[in-house]
Amino acid sequence: MELESLYQQIILDHYKRKVGYGIDHGGYPSHQYNPTCGDEINLQVLLSADGNTIESIEWEGTGCSISQASASMLAAESKGMTLAEFETFAGGFREAMRSRGEIVLDEEEYGDLASLSGVSKFVARVKCAMLAWVAAEDSVTLTRGSLN
């Protein structure tokens, strides 16, 4: 498998840029951990007042380029989505990651995240790409729980 299919330039850019890095507001962060490598992320989804729309995603953590780029792109692409949209969005991303290269993410829909499609061929790295997403879903649950 070509290394370039995994590490597209846009991934390496996000690895440096880190959109959404820094937890600056109160919220309900989820802490996720990858036992294999010790990587961790702390990520919170900030919702609109009505609890239905993603205002922004904030995160901090250490990890490889894939996990950091995935968090950065997630923060960039999910802004303004309704929770229903986000659920479909995350579901599609997970499915693609698990597809062993079968599913290529649509660039129209996934933007920069489409560049992570190649990860699905590197089974051991799928967890890296998913770390931020698991945290995001968990944070949404925590946040919504707090609204009830």
């Binding site: 498998m1 951990y33 036992p35 294999t36 590197f122 089974v123 051991a124």
Partner: protein, 420 residues
């Protein structure tokens, strides 16, 4: 029974059947001790070892990722065979170790006030049966000794039958564990597993089923058994030594304290404490039994290809014939009835005036491999009035001709030793 053609095809998978023992072809009637190995699973394991060895669950290199996948696939294959979810199947060294993990979880929980289902105290009761293999007996003796719990023994009939009523007769509201075999490795009688599990659950006991002697001879449907835990060994299922299984309900595994600890079963580790992963990882510290899992899964595929229903049918029909022929031999006393019970293809017996060692040696001279001794079931032998016995046990490769040959040989034993 299998047709002659099918039998020949199946036997072709076992090179050991083409070996000469004492100058005569091997007649292997000792599957209950350890099963012969078919070529496919052994070669799959060795090819894997030579071309795909790498560390599981660790690191990113391609071989390691492939090894991890192969390992997970193996677990899924074996789990599916027993009707289980992969995460509810823990790999152990053997059935013995599987049972010990539960018993040790009980001892450890008892010492430090662990989860209620596992912590026993003085006055609590552990039930086992007169037909227990040492593996499902001695660990519980140790639990009793350490916790002050009492052992209660469910009797078998003189014919070796374990009835639900017999188990119920020793159940009380202090019963905390009921340990019993699906099939005793001496008697060959299929026990009423579900009914015993249900009775045990009515008094709130943990049910530990030893499925060693049924796992490759009948369909093992773990969830239908009603048990909380089931132990079995690969080497009795045409798989490798050094690996076995502990199946548990998800709730039981979640609640069960860890026993063995170390790498690969943790999330975060500090100098003085650590957090553990959920089952099965929390029971599988260290480098996994990689090639053994691969080999075992392939032996499961071997059985699946024949079809477990057909395997069970073949062996039970052949076993019935063995029982019938053996009953007719002068001076042979079979341990365990065939009346009113279902049986697997396994018969133990005493030969009047001839010690099992001598009977076994006589058979061995004709290439017939059987087991002699107490078969790790000393108390049961005493209960049935003998020190030891000779055991014939069948496998998927056994044939009517072999059964007849063995029974013929046995018919000559007493004359040889001058007691007939």
């Amino acid at each position: 029974m299998f047709s002659l053609d099918e039998s020949e095809r199946i036997r072709g998978a076992f090179p050991e059947l083409r070996e000469l023992v004492n100058g005569v072809p091997l007649v292997y009637l000792d599957t209950a001790a350890t099963a012969l190995r078919p070529t496919g699973p052994v070669e799959r394991e060795s090819t894997f070892a030579l071309t795909r060895t790498a560390a599981v669950n660790r690191g990113a290199h391609t071989l390691a990722a492939e090894a991890t996948e192969a390992y997970d696939d193996a677990r899924a294959t074996i789990a599916t065979f027993i009707g289980a979810r992969p995460n509810d199947l823990v790999f152990t060294s053997s059935a013995t170790e599987a049972i010990n993990l539960i018993a040790l979880a009980c001892r450890l929980a008892s010492a430090v006030g662990g989860p209620a289902r596992f912590a026993l105290s003085a006055g609590d009761e552990i039930v086992h049966t007169e037909s227990e293999h040492h593996a499902n007996l001695i660990p519980w003796q140790e639990v009793a000794k350490a916790t002050g719990a009492t052992l209660r023994i469910a009797p078998v009939t003189d014919g070796g039958v374990l009835t639900v009523a017999a188990v119920e007769s020793v159940l009380t509201d202090r019963t905390r564990v009921v340990a019993f075999p699906s099939v005793s490795n001496v008697l060959g009688i299929i026990n009423p597993v579900r009914a015993i599990s249900d009775a045990a659950h009515r008094v709130g006991a943990l049910v530990v089923l030893d499925a060693c002697q049924s796992a490759s001879h009948t369909t093992l449907a773990v969830t239908e058994s009603g048990a909380d835990f089931i132990a079995f060994s690969a080497h009795k299922m045409y798989g490798p030594t050094g690996i076995g299984g502990l199946w548990g309900t998800a709730a039981s595994l979640a609640e069960m304290p860890t026993v063995l600890t170390g790498g690969s079963m943790i999330t975060r580790v500090d100098f003085d404490s650590a957090d553990y992963l959920p089952a099965p990882a929390k029971f599988e510290p260290g480098t996994p039994r990689l090639t053994q899992a691969i080999g075992w899964a392939e032996s499961i595929r071997f059985l699946d290809d024949i079809g477990m229903d057909r395997v069970a049918d073949h062996e039970s029909s052949l076993g019935a014939e063995l029982y019938r022929l053996l009953s007719a031999v002068d001076g042979v006393r079979i341990l365990g009835t065939d009346e009113g019970v279902d049986r697997v293809g396994l018969v133990s017996f005493a030969v009047d005036g001839v010690h099992p060692h001598d009977a076994g040696q006589f058979l061995d001279s004709k290439g017939i491999a059987v087991r002699v001794g107490h078969h790790c079931a000393q108390p049961l032998h005493k209960r049935l009035g003998v020190d030891s016995s000779t055991r014939i046990s069948l496998g998927v490769h056994s044939t009517l001709a072999e059964v007849e040959f063995a029974v013929d040989a046995l018919a000559q034993v007493r004359a040889f030793f001058g007691v007939a």
